[in-house]
Symmetry: C2
Subunit: 317 residues, 2 copies
Amino acid sequence: MKAYESRSIQRVFLVACGGSCALMYPSKYLLDHEAKTITAEVYSSNEFIHRNPKTLDENALVILCSHKGKTPETTEAAKFAKNNGAMTVSLMYVEDAPLKNESDYIVNYSWAPAGKKEQYSEIMNYAVLYRLTLGLLYVKEGNEKYHSLLSSLDSLGEVFEKADDQFRDKAKQYAEKIRDEDIIYTMASGSNYGVAYTFAICILMEMQWVHSHAIHAGEFFHGPFEIVDKDVPFILLKGLDDTRPLEERAEIFLKQYTDKVLVLDAEELDLSDLDLEMRGYLAPMVINYVLRLHAVEIAEERNHPLETRRYMFKVAY
Amino acid sequence: MKAYESRSIQRVFLVACGGSCALMYPSKYLLDHEAKTITAEVYSSNEFIHRNPKTLDENALVILCSHKGKTPETTEAAKFAKNNGAMTVSLMYVEDAPLKNESDYIVNYSWAPAGKKEQYSEIMNYAVLYRLTLGLLYVKEGNEKYHSLLSSLDSLGEVFEKADDQFRDKAKQYAEKIRDEDIIYTMASGSNYGVAYTFAICILMEMQWVHSHAIHAGEFFHGPFEIVDKDVPFILLKGLDDTRPLEERAEIFLKQYTDKVLVLDAEELDLSDLDLEMRGYLAPMVINYVLRLHAVEIAEERNHPLETRRYMFKVAY
């Protein structure tokens, strides 16, 4: 917070790879929706470096994330950003790693494997990101929702508890139903798109070797929906932000034309512990928790552990 | 051009749906890479409206596109942008349509169906977009590459002629090879990503009912690549912009782990008629032309005309 005060910040670049990059989407949504003077962009680390945005300068804040702090592209991106004069803040789960040496500031976050409740707290990855981005708007633009964020994050543990009780059995039933599918699409819009993206690329493609694609719920009707038929499975996320009408429209179509749709609707969750004005922003975190319950059950049912890889960290690439 | 002079423009929003939205990606790349003071964002029309970016005001330029000018979300987006004080410029193929009534300026572009040479000229959709975006930088920041763009666009017709001669037979051979595939991934980075995206959602999913997904070549190694095996088909685009190393890295991996990869490399095209400094930006247009040749042959080989739809304009959605 103090660091923000010392600089003019006109642009935020949210930079990371894969699952860590997906984490950035809700914060971009928040910045787009709330910031009067600051723009936000999400880039995969290597794209960021090579694209070399000309507006990356001393008026930019670059927020990076790498779980173990040793994703080479992200470390390189931090170095690149610093060399261009930007302020760099990096999130890591571990305390010491190469990324630390290339960043102005490091913020650690809590984490536990999917399906374990401990990971869900006010210092988990999404929460830390929101604190950094809404915190920026608090300092620079006096956005008072920051207080509401902090108090809501304090209650997040209980919200996850309730979601866990509500969805553990349902997740198992879903896993039994789709165990033999070789393609499953995910879909969402707004602050929830990143959650659909991470479930597609990290859980289904990377950890289960199931074909997938995160379709944007608005784009769906301009091409992708022609792929739908009775046998094509979809997971549709319905959040509580202002883009919900896009997800609702997709739901009506999917329910009519495929028999294999799972709808995870934040309205069915008990979010009463969260401030009303924060629910749209925090719903992706809860939906992500619920999806991780599904991941665990799918892995179990398919007898394909979430840790199994054929290429990652095994071959040269 | 005159219109640009009358306004302060700090932000460009590129807004459209589906294939028209995909058109916007190369222009975003150009703005990111060249603009010193102006930021650029791409949004699907309905996401743009509901996300409601707070920086959308009288200092914003909103460029929209709808082929027939009657995509309801895009007309609505133009209206929304104007109500927020932004300048709106809309691209259409037709001369008169609802989008016109909601836009400050209309620019028409030339077009012909895939595989027909007439569509490729200095007033085709991508070309008009570049003229609008690089033209903005010429007016606002004195970017002299604008002249280079104009002279290169004059030669585009010949470039397409040569690409046509070079790839028509190859496209047919490729179509024969993949006619029975039910999933084909596409991949690219930088200015070429939009071309991979439009081939995935418009050609493969919409027009051929083949499962697909445009994977970003940098993100590929952070999840999606675990899906690769000998039998999984990929189309990899290699452009000439500064993100080419990402595409080269993906190529090495794909050639090692799948037997079904088509690489379309802009270095194999004869681009000698284009100014050297424009080749990176214009390569996506030529690659897109080559891909459209493939689309025609794939449709022919699969006996599934590009015009066939089951939902679009046929059912309510």
